[in-house]
C-alpha cells in the first residue's frame, strides 16, 4: 500500500496507514528522498500511529530514511509509536538512538519548527 505524503508549509507529512511490505518501505524511502528537495522541505514527520508491528527491516528503513533526509537537509521526526511496538523494539535492541520522536503529529510539527 502506498504511503501518502502531504506537504504542509515547509514540512512533509508521511502517514503510514497499515502494515507495509518491504517494497512499500523502499518506495517510501525513494519518494521522500526525492520530494524533500523538490519541495525544499526543512523537515519530515513520519506518523506510525497505525503500525502495530515493527520488524528489523522497517526499523532499519526508518533509520535510513532519517539519515538520507539529513543529508538532503531535512530533519525527521517519528510520531505516534504504540506502547507495544516501542517495547518490542527495545527488547530487540532496536532503539533508534539518532532519530527524534514525538507523541503525535501535532507535537512532531512543533518539534520541527522550533
Amino acid at each position: 500500500m502506498k504511503v501518502p505524503i502531504l506537504k504542509q508549509g515547509n514540512i512533509l507529512i508521511a502517514t503510514i496507514q497499515s502494515a507495509l511490505t518491504d517494497q512499500d518501505l523502499n518506495n517510501l524511502q525513494n519518494e521522500l528522498s526525492h520530494q524533500v528537495s523538490h519541495y525544499r522541505s526543512q523537515g519530515v514527520v513520519i506518523d506510525i500511529t497505525e503500525l502495530d508491528v515493527m520488524d528489523s527491516f522497517s526499523t532499519r528503513t526508518l533509520r535510513n530514511i532519517a539519515n538520507i533526509l539529513k543529508l538532503r537537509g531535512a530533519n525527521t521526526v517519528i510520531v505516534g509509536m504504540q506502547p507495544d511496538v516501542a517495547y518490542a523494539m527495545v527488547e530487540l535492541g532496536l532503539t533508534l538512538p539518532d532519530i527524534k520522536t514525538a507523541r503525535d503529529l501535532e507535537e512532531g510539527l512543533i518539534l520541527l519548527q522550533s
Binding site: 517519528i78 510520531v79 505516534g80 509509536m81 504504540q82 506502547p83 507495544d84 511496538v85 516501542a86 517495547y87 523494539m89 527495545v90 527488547e91 532503539t95 533508534l96 538512538p97 520522536t101 514525538a102 507523541r103 503525535d104 507535537e107 512532531g108
Partner: protein, 321 residues
C-alpha cells in the same frame, strides 16, 4: 477458604482446572496398578464392610475426640452426627465399585471441604491410616483360613485409599496455589500505580524488589499509561527498591528507550547511595538515563521540560502564618 465462606464444592470446573480428566485418572490408576480385579475384590468386601462400618467409624471418631487438635472440629453433637453419617457413606463408597470420574469428583469435594475447614493434611492422613489398620484387621480375621486372599483384598483397598489420598492432597495443594496466585496478583496490582501528577506528567513510585516478570509488567503498564494519558514526562521513583542488579538496570535502560520512542521523557529518581555504587561497580551504562536525586528534584526537572513555573502565592503564605 472462599470469600463468601462457602467451600467451592459447587465448582464443576475444579476438576478441569486441576487437570483431572479421564486420561489423568486412568494414569493415576495405572501408576497404582489398580485394575478391574481390584474393583471386583473391593466389591466383594462390600457386604462385610456394611457389617463393621459403624463400629470402625465410632472408633475413628473416638480417636479424633481424643486429641485436642482434632476435637475442636467436632464441638457440638449435631455436627458430630452429621459428619459421622457422611463418613459412613464415604467409607462404604470405598467398596461400591465404579471408581470413575464421578468417584474422583466426590473425593475432590471431600478434599475441598477439609481444606476449607482447615483440617491439616496430617490429621487427614492419620485418619486414613486408622481406617487401613481397622479394616485390615477385620479382613484378616474374616479370611482367617485364606491369608493370601486377605492380603490381596487388603492390597486392593490400599491402592484405592492411596488414590483417594493423592486426590485429597492435590486438592489441598491446588487450593493453596489458587490463594497464592490470587495474592500475587493483588500484590502486583497494588504495587504498581501509575499516578498522574499534573497534565502530561506521570509518576511511578516503585516499591519492593523487582524481578524480571514485575519489571516487564511495570514497563508495559507505564508505556500504556503514557499513551492513554498523553504524558510527556514520566518520573520513576525507585527509592523503595532495595537492590538493583544488572538485569533490573538493563530493564530501566530499556524502559527509557521505549519511552523515548513514544516521544516522551523518563526521569529516574531516588537512586540510593548503595544502588548507585552497585550500578557503577557492575558497569551498567546509564549515560542515556536522566537521573535526579530525589522525587522532588525529579518533579522540578519535569516541570522545567513541560515549561511549568510554579510560584508561591505570597498573600496566602503570609495569611496562613
Amino acid at each position: 477458604m472462599e470469600e463468601n465462606g462457602k467451600p467451592t464444592t459447587t465448582d464443576p470446573s475444579l476438576m478441569n482446572r486441576m487437570g483431572l480428566d479421564q486420561d489423568e485418572i486412568a494414569r493415576r490408576k495405572a501408576w497404582l496398578e489398580f485394575t478391574l480385579e481390584d474393583e471386583t475384590r473391593l466389591l466383594s468386601l462390600n457386604e462385610m464392610a456394611q457389617g463393621y462400618a459403624t463400629e470402625v467409624i465410632e472408633a475413628l471418631y473416638d480417636h479424633f475426640l481424643a486429641f485436642d487438635d482434632t476435637k475442636k472440629f467436632f464441638e457440638n453433637a449435631s455436627v458430630l452426627n452429621r459428619v459421622k453419617n457422611l463418613q459412613k457413606e464415604y467409607f462404604l463408597r470405598l467398596t461400591k465399585g465404579n471408581y470413575d470420574n464421578k468417584y474422583v469428583e466426590e473425593r475432590i469435594k471431600i478434599g475441598v471441604v477439609h481444606a476449607s475447614i482447615g483440617l491439616d493434611v496430617k490429621w487427614y492422613l492419620g485418619a486414613y491410616n486408622f481406617y487401613l489398620r481397622a479394616v485390615g484387621e477385620r479382613i484378616f480375621k474374616a479370611f482367617k483360613n485364606h491369608p493370601e486372599q486377605a492380603l490381596e483384598a487388603y492390597f486392593s483397598l490400599t491402592k484405592l485409599v492411596y488414590l483417594d489420598i493423592g486426590l485429597a492432597i492435590d486438592t489441598y495443594i491446588f487450593q493453596r496455589e489458587v490463594t497464592i496466585s490470587k495474592q500475587q496478583e493483588a500484590i502486583r496490582e497494588l504495587s504498581t500505580p501509575v499516578l498522574q501528577l499534573r497534565e502530561e506528567l506521570l509518576i511511578l513510585p516503585i516499591i519492593g524488589a523487582i524481578d524480571s516478570q514485575r519489571a516487564r509488567q511495570l514497563t508495559e503498564q507505564l508505556l500504556h499509561a503514557i499513551r492513554d494519558k498523553r504524558a510527556k514526562v514520566v518520573v520513576v521513583d525507585i527509592t523503595g527498591v532495595p537492590t538493583v542488579d544488572s538485569r533490573v538496570a538493563n530493564h530501566l535502560v530499556q524502559t527509557v528507550d521505549a519511552t523515548r520512542l513514544m516521544g516522551a521523557v523518563l526521569i529516574i529518581t531516588g537512586l540510593s547511595a548503595e544502588v548507585a555504587q552497585t550500578l557503577v561497580t557492575i558497569g551498567v551504562d546509564l549515560s542515556k538515563i536522566m537521573t535526579v536525586g530525589d522525587l522532588q528534584g525529579g518533579i522540578e526537572a519535569a516541570d522545567k521540560i513541560l515549561g511549568i513555573h510554579l510560584e508561591k502565592n505570597s498573600d496566602q503564605a503570609t495569611s496562613s502564618n
